[in-house]
């Protein structure tokens, strides 16, 4: 007995000694080893693929990648780190989360000091605008945009007597109402749900197709007054009333299972979603195809790379950005993962234009997504966008779950947003 305690105590002391004397991982990077840097990304976008490709090309560079969690969790972790902890050298910030950070640009390196002003012109103007402050400091470099499309299951469409060719399918739904009608048809023929859910696949798509979203052109809050937001909201209620949704919340475990099991035939598919389908439902390879989204165009999603001010190795992080986010780099990313580049110069590159994806019945993904971002009317994304969007989404989810009456939904949503924006 005594021996157990003594050995345990010695062991613990030894452990503490080792642990205490081990330098924190942040001292592994920095000036002692200027080729290593720390990179925080969100998960489920297979960031590892790009990091590995970069390390292969630069064997002397060590990229410490951490996939923190969802986009929101990554933004939260970043804020906590900026508040007084260890910051990464490079961080990926989702477009809806960026405006909040833009309010305190002093927390980030002005990338124009590292050379960003020279490459600024490579990127879509409306995307770049979001990451440049009023004083002209460049805070982030855009990595990709989502575009918009609808992914559908060809086998399930066939069983329901619907066409499977993507041109024909795209013609089936030029408007959201038409999509709803197709949905009703499908449900009647098969008795199973048509679309995965309405909050994400209807509301988040429709609301992102407008010319203004939650802020107006003067950058003032307008979510409650903007008729486009209300229209998207009402549309969602209408689709919900049609009873064609599987009611699986996006990114939940039931949703990922549903993809494999064919619980729904249709889901929203911005470019980055394709990768999710591929990883979550590998057994459904070849059973999907991609059609245009009702309304033709729109953009959901897109992220930026930024460098926190206190980064130990800003230079190494910048080298990564400069290379991987150059037009060639983004094109390479597109060819491996399917993320839509933000560098319009590659939109006409034959490798992109002729790109097809076998998982999705050889759909010409390059063409489909570049076409979906042509002609969009970009809107301003403000600091509280993420919060407002979440509250609206949650209210619509509650409607879908039968917890909020549709006729009370809009008022409930406004009240929820107001609550969330307190303080």
């Amino acid at each position: 007995m005594k021996r157990v305690v003594t050995t345990a105590a010695t062991f613990a002391a030894a452990v503490l000694l080792v642990v205490g004397c081990t330098p924190g991982s942040n001292s592994d990077t920095g000036s002692s080893d200027s080729k290593a840097f720390e990179f925080w990304s969100f998960s489920a976008i297979n960031q590892k693929l790009e990091v590995d490709a970069y390390e292969k090309k630069h064997p002397d560079v060590d990229v410490k990648l951490t996939e923190v969690g969802s986009t929101t969790e990554t933004a939260q972790a970043l804020t906590t780190a900026l508040a007084g902890g260890k910051v990464p050298d490079l961080v990926l910030i989702q477009g809806d989360d960026l405006p909040k950070f833009m309010q305190s640009p002093e927390n980030f390196v002005d990338l124009s000091t590292l050379g960003a002003d020279k490459i600024k012109g490579d990127y879509l103007e409306w995307v770049m605008k979001q990451s440049v402050t009023a004083d002209g400091e460049i805070i982030g470099i855009p990595t990709d945009v989502g575009g918009m499309a609808v992914a559908y299951r060809t086998d399930l469409f066939k069983a329901a007597g619907l066409p499977t060719d993507r041109e024909q399918v795209s013609k089936l739904w030029p408007t959201w109402d038409a999509l709803t009608e197709v949905g009703k048809q499908y449900v009647k023929a098969t008795g199973k749900p048509f679309i995965d859910n309405t909050p994400t696949s209807i509301f988040f798509q429709a609301v992102n197709q407008g010319s203004e979203r939650y802020y107006d052109a003067d950058r003032k809050l307008s979510y409650d007054k903007n008729p486009q937001v209300k229209a998207a909201f009402d549309l969602t209620l209408k689709v919900h009333a049609a009873g064609i949704a599987a009611k699986q919340t996006s990114f939940s475990s039931g949703w990922t299972a549903g993809m494999t099991k064919g619980d729904f035939a249709v889901m929203s598919a911005p470019a980055w979603m394709l990768n999710a389908i591929r990883t979550n439902a590998p057994k459904t390879e070849g059973k999907w195809d991609i059609a245009t989204v009702p309304g033709g165009s729109g953009n959901w999603g897109g992220s930026y790379l930024a460098i926190p001010k206190r980064a130990k190795n800003a230079k190494a992080a910048w080298d990564y950005i400069a290379e991987m986010q150059a037009p060639e780099g983004q094109l390479a990313n597109f060819l491996t993962k399917g993320n839509l580049p933000t560098t319009p110069s590659v939109y006409t590159d034959p490798r992109l234009v002729e790109r097809t994806d076998p998982f999705f019945s050889n759909a010409p993904v390059g063409k489909i997504y570049t076409q979906s971002v042509v002609g969009i009317k970009p809107f301003y994304i403000g600091p509280n966008d993420a919060t407002i969007g979440t509250e609206l989404l949650n209210t619509l989810t509650s409607v879908e779950q039968g917890k909020v009456a549709p006729d009370k939904a809009w008022d409930t949503a406004l009240a929820n947003v107001k609550n969330a924006l307190r303080g």
Partner: protein, 289 residues
Amino acid sequence: MNPTSTTTNAPPRRRRGVGRVPFLVYVLLGLMVFASVFPLYWMFVVSTTDSATAYNLPPHVVPGGNFLHLANLVFTTVPFVGALVNSLAVATAVGVGQALLCALAGFAFAKLSFPGRNTLFLVVVLTMTVPAQLAVIPQYLIMSKLGWVDTLQAVIVPGLVSAFGIFWMRQHIGSTIDDELMHAARVDGATTWQIFWRVAFPLVRPAAFVLGLFGFVNAWNDFLWPFIVLKSPDRYTVQIAIKALQNSRDIDLGLAMSGSFLATLPLLVLFVFVGRRLVQGIMEGAFKG
């Protein structure tokens, strides 16, 4: 226990049920064991098949053959071995630290009289009402001032504070060590430290060991604070690694369950060896509490 000596002259028996244990009792016990163990079994089953199968109805309750594949995926998705080592280091340090510190303080409260003793003890008791989550924000700021963010000591050191542990040790020392013993030792000229280390502590070592076990288990399972303060994958404890698994592939259930199972396994193994002590510890504590 002699079933024939039922005369009133026999010392009072302490348990009921002299005769055979009814079958019903075993049935009920079987249910209890089933309820306690089934979720773990289910965790194991899912970690041996895959998500798609887990989402089958009727449920597939027999283990499949996918364990190695998923386990391998666990080890390659997050640095799981490192996480196991980190958890082991943290839990051991906390267990041992708590046992020693609480024995020390418990001894002082139980056997030494000094001004302010009762007030200080009351403070100790009051701290048990404070939820740990309250202090999380300022604690993080303290850690960043100390430069301890993303280090294991940030998780270990706050974990050494256990008001319950002091309560427990004070209880045990109070009831195990006679005042006479103390007095005799003093007469022999022993210093307080000697009394503690050579007299009191050996006597309550079993209780201290159990306290250390509890500290170990709690530290192993701790989630919130490590989640906030540990950021690099090579610093993750095993619980954070599970959450990272949950995130890694849009909630791949098979992967998450596999990681969960692997994270629970070490404790289960430990439990096989020291479970009896834990049980005894809880029951003795109740007795004297």
